[in-house]
């Protein structure tokens, strides 16, 4: 068999190895549950969340939210990471951890549309995660999306005070 000259075979080998490794990466990403979209759908701003400006939007106070617990057509959405949700959450809440890289898509929006009112909460200072998730839900055409002021902590305090819910 004729050998390729080194000047050709080495770069060709490098390209083939890179392509094969990339192919493995793309296949694993497609197959795994924590895979990310091949093209980022949303600008990245994760580096400096403290400098992040959260889009303004309607909010709801903790006591009012506690009274709305289990009210018909109201869905609480937990924007915190899944681990925080697993450790404790508002009864009946749905977990949608906010991520710049994988924000909720039209499928999630279609599911949420059947609920009349959405109350989004988190536990980050200034309700940033909730504010960002609420903004991305509004971008998807959902109306009546409110941010729970003070988030998870304020809600648990208010729930004790009002005695609402389980």
């Amino acid at each position: 068999m004729t050998r390729l000259p080194l000047l050709l075979s080495v770069p060709l080998g490098a390209v083939l190895i890179s392509a094969a490794a990339s192919g493995i990466g793309l296949a694993v990403n497609a197959a795994r549950s924590g895979g990310i979209p091949v093209v980022a759908p949303f600008p990245y701003q994760q580096d400096c969340p403290e400098k992040l400006s959260v889009p303004e939007g309607p909010t709801v106070g903790a006591e009012q939210a506690a009274r709305l617990l289990h009210a018909q057509g109201v869905l609480f959405i937990d924007a915190r990471p899944a681990e925080a949700f697993a450790a404790g959450h508002i009864d009946g809440a749905r977990s949608i951890p906010f991520s710049f890289i994988s924000p909720p898509g039209p499928g999630t929006a279609a599911e949420l549309k059947k609920h009349g009112h959405l109350i989004v909460y988190c536990d980050s200072p200034g309700d940033k995660l909730a504010g960002l998730l609420a903004a991305s839900l509004r971008d998807l055409g959902l109306r009546r999306v409110k941010v729970l002021r003070g988030g998870w902590e304020a809600f648990t305090r208010a729930k004790k005070k009002t005695g609402a819910g389980p």
Binding site: A21, G25, I36, V39, A40, Y44, Q46, D47, I101
Partner: protein, 160 residues
Amino acid sequence: MKLRRLLGEQLAWVFRVTLGVVFIVASLDKIAHPEAFAAGIANYHMVPLGLINLMAICLPWIEVVCGLLLVLGLWTRANLLVVNALLVVFIVAIVSALRRGLDISCGCFTTDPGAHAMTRWTLYWDIIWLGMGLHAMVLDRNLLSVTRLLRRTGATGETT
């Protein structure tokens, strides 16, 4: 002659295996957390948005595959070319980030944004690894490698 072999072939083997291990270790956290790695790439503000995720998906796998092949000693020169090219890209990115005064983690070994901030030492380490990669690329003779083993059994005659 002995010294020449020590500084040539044998040192090249040490460098090749070291680089292989470094690249394998560097890839693991990125493979486990592609989302965080994508954010890490974005922090450099050098890659267009449309390419960030693709890079976050593919780059760690290129690192781990090249790392494994370097340790095994298969297609050594081609792998060293990939590794050296990646190191040049990393060096350019780090120099650019340092010059712009970006207060970010380099994302080299961990995707944790709170990990060690990028410093000049991050750059120095990459330059050292590039030196090792170039040395190995020129002087590696497939010492303790699968390639040499296969050659002995006559299964392959690859030189890449």
